[in-house]
Amino acid sequence: MSDVSDLKVVGHSVDKLDAIALATGGEKFTADEIPPRTLYARILTSPWAHARIRKIDTTAAMKIKGVRSIITWQDVPRVAHTTAGQGFPEPSPYDSFTLDDKVRYVGDRVAAVAADTPEIARAAAEAIEVEYEQLPPIFDPRDSMKEGAPVIHDEPEARMIIPVPYDKSRNLAAQVTANVGDIEQGLAQADVVVEREFEVHQAQHCPMEPHVALAYVDGRGRLVIRTSTQVPYHVRRIVAERLQWPIGKVRVIKPRIGGGFGSKQEVLLEDIPAVLAIRTGRPVLLEYTRGEEFASSRTRHPQIIKIRAGARKDGTLTGYDLDILMNTGAYGSHALTVVCNSGSKTLPLYRWQNIRFRGTSVYTNLPVGGAYRGYGATQAYFPLEVVLDELAEKIGMDAIELRQRNHIRSGEGSPIFQALGEGTEGVAQTIGSCGLAECIEIGAREIGWKEKRGKAALQTGPIRRGVGMCCLMQGSSIPHVDLGAAYLKMNEDGSFNLLVGATDLGTGSDTVLAQVAAEVLGVPASMMTVYSSDTDLTPFDVGAYASSTTYLSGEAVAKAAREARAMIIEVASEILGCPVEDIELVNAYALARNGNKVQFSEIGRHSLYVKNQRQIQGAASHVTRKSPPPFSAQFAEVEVDTETGQVRVLKYVAAVDCGTAINPKLAEGQIQGAVLNGISYALTEEFVFDPRGRLLNNDLNYYKIFTAADLPDIRAILVPTWEPSGPFGAKSVSEIGINGPLPAISNAIYDAVGVRITRAPFTAERVLRALGRL
């Protein structure tokens, strides 16, 4: 099979299974079910960017009526770990503790309180007396590795558990290099060379539901954690390790999740309510306020990126030198893998003859970086795609043509695939499906490239228009690392329960996985009841990250469904008295070649009650061998007010090849959401700190994300291809969209007003300065 035309469920926009319950408010999020006697937790956070806790006195706080427990670093096991919700062994440094006697950024944990009400917990946290010895902070990552810089992780326990560069004495959290050919030779052979420095900024995910976790000890003495997470299995493992509890005595339940975008691929809160629940014997809820979500959660890692790139007049790309200094903040969560991805997800896109890549992650005393949709690719596509435009201009070639001549195609590989993985070596692969050429063509037509590009000279007045574009790829899962698993059983009415470890955080993965199973089984998706992510009930899955769920967990579901399908056919052959080879499953019927048929409800009843009773079921797991990239070409049309610097995106086109879109409407929704997040990030979202390292704009009034009123005309166009290694030809879709706005808008600004904006975000003031008018 290699196209979707024969498919009944896959490739169709079935309604998201939980949508009606969500739209009517019936679904339960973590904080929507509070057991009786629940206590409310609050974390006291550090007012200092870098300090040692000399003394901590909880006497006054404990005296407040309604305070049940207060914990400081003296009350919890000292277990070095990473908060990064990654597979074991995690490629992030073990540099975090549940509580510590040192604080490393404003917003870092100092102590935690459990009390009868949130107000009491807050008052008690404020009443804890802490004596700090201030230490000199580092705020600029350029200072982190300077001689004599303060050491942020001077504790003996901090370490990497995999053999990769890590030097806490120099604040080096991670380093990666990769070389193809000889960069100096490549640049020497170029007719034109571009050298530029870019800055990509810190940002917050802003899920509408802030982090929240509830913990209690059940009647059997097991620790139950209900939490808003993308990685329930990693939460179980990492919390058990931190608390030194057996994994078998921990249950993690993921209810509905109010968005994550990577911020919840982090074991951020769960240990605190767990410890407090164990100490008090009562359920404990810890909810981040929006302010804490900004200051004490995770962020997009900011990067300073130096580029040297060369091309010959004929469009040959002779060399690309990518040098990244990444600021991981106070802890090294995802410090290695994000910077790896900055190389691995961008460098294979074009046929550079020579490549040098160096990524360095350093500690600073600023809020902590983490996983954020795009995961390093967002940062590194900005310089790559701007520099390509500049090369094209210098050799007098259309920006699109330069890309068309050089982008990777189906059947091709890249030395980078093997050189760079997620913290370790990568996996060689050749590209299966690639619809990038079509994406470029369709997108260019949709934006009106030929009519609009390079027309600034013809415009008059203070408002100028321009168009810009970029090309992108991402990946689908982490090959040989990520595991997804599924279990499926048939009920006596012919309906099915699908149990998956895969974690629907709002993306619609429950629905997509149900469609995959339904397609295999020959039933409508409405016959599937999906239960996702409960470590007691569902099989393992690494969780929702690395653009893996559809491609990886989808294949696990397909395998489990094929097992169940074989059993259904077996039972049907018993009922119909015909060989299994003669049976087809169509629309909840088993059809025999002789025209006889039996309904699934009868098959279900037969299997459970009538004869040769057994549970019709399937269980399977899947590990991928490759990480096929989805591709995208994106186009922005902007308006620049040359008197105020204000940039407005008028139209944005994202043509995306995600292989088969299992559910086109949900796939479009992923693209549209990612693109708008990217536009808002490119234009307005920004962290601003005071000289002490305190975040000034820690709310949605001052940290501006777009609302519907700011929405430009966004066109998401699916360009179908068939990825042979994916379930029904599918690849990933959810991350790629966010990578485009930085370069596409920057390129469009250049087209409109002739200045290259290389520092993000493109605020009005920054653009006006670049125009030389301020």
């Binding site: 998201k16 939980d18 009517t24 509408m208 968005g259 709002g506 949900l666 959401g673 708008l676 519907a708």
Partner: protein, 161 residues
């Protein structure tokens, strides 16, 4: 401590509230967990409810101030087995992703369509300007509003619960 009476989704209830208690906290305390808390500052819109037909962010409305008011939450608009056409349109349009903003979004839509049955896109955008969504990019939400306007135009009366 003020005693107040609220009619929530048609159900009349009396309760005692602290003088500075917010409606969001009162509603959630009373089990109305379809009203979500996203920021507590009146900015994100997740806690939007209709108070006497007007859209407000319940996290910054003092409960005592709305004594005697009729409150509608998303569950009052419709239920899974008897959804309001607006809710159905959100499902059909693919406008629901994580769904945390959706209870507020459908109420913002209700308030808009009650006032302007046939809104144009810019009216829709402005009507939703206080309801943030980080998942959808709003494109399908706007389509859902347009679709529900069409569906509702075919009926004389909006079916209330």
């Amino acid at each position: 401590m003020p005693n107040i009476t609220l009619t929530v989704n048609g159900e009349k209830m009396t309760c005692t509230v602290a003088p500075d208690e917010k409606l969001l906290d009162t509603l959630r305390r009373l089990g109305r967990t379809d009203v979500k808390k996203g920021c507590g500052e009146g900015t994100c819109g997740s806690c939007s409810v209709l108070i006497d037909g007007r859209l407000m962010t319940s996290c910054i409305v003092f409960s005592a101030r709305v004594d005697g008011a009729e409150i509608m939450t998303a569950a009052g608009l419709g239920t899974a087995n008897a959804p309001h056409p607006i809710q159905t349109s959100f499902v059909k349009a693919g406008a629901v992703q994580c769904g945390f903003c959706t209870p507020g979004m459908v109420l913002a839509t209700k308030a808009l369509l009650d006032a302007v049955p046939k809104p144009d896109v810019s009216q829709i955008k402005m009507a939703l300007d206080g309801n943030m969504c980080r998942c959808t990019g709003y494109v399908k939400i706007i389509e859902a509003v347009q679709d529900s306007a069409r569906v509702l135009a075919g009926e004389n009366e909006v079916p209330h619960e």
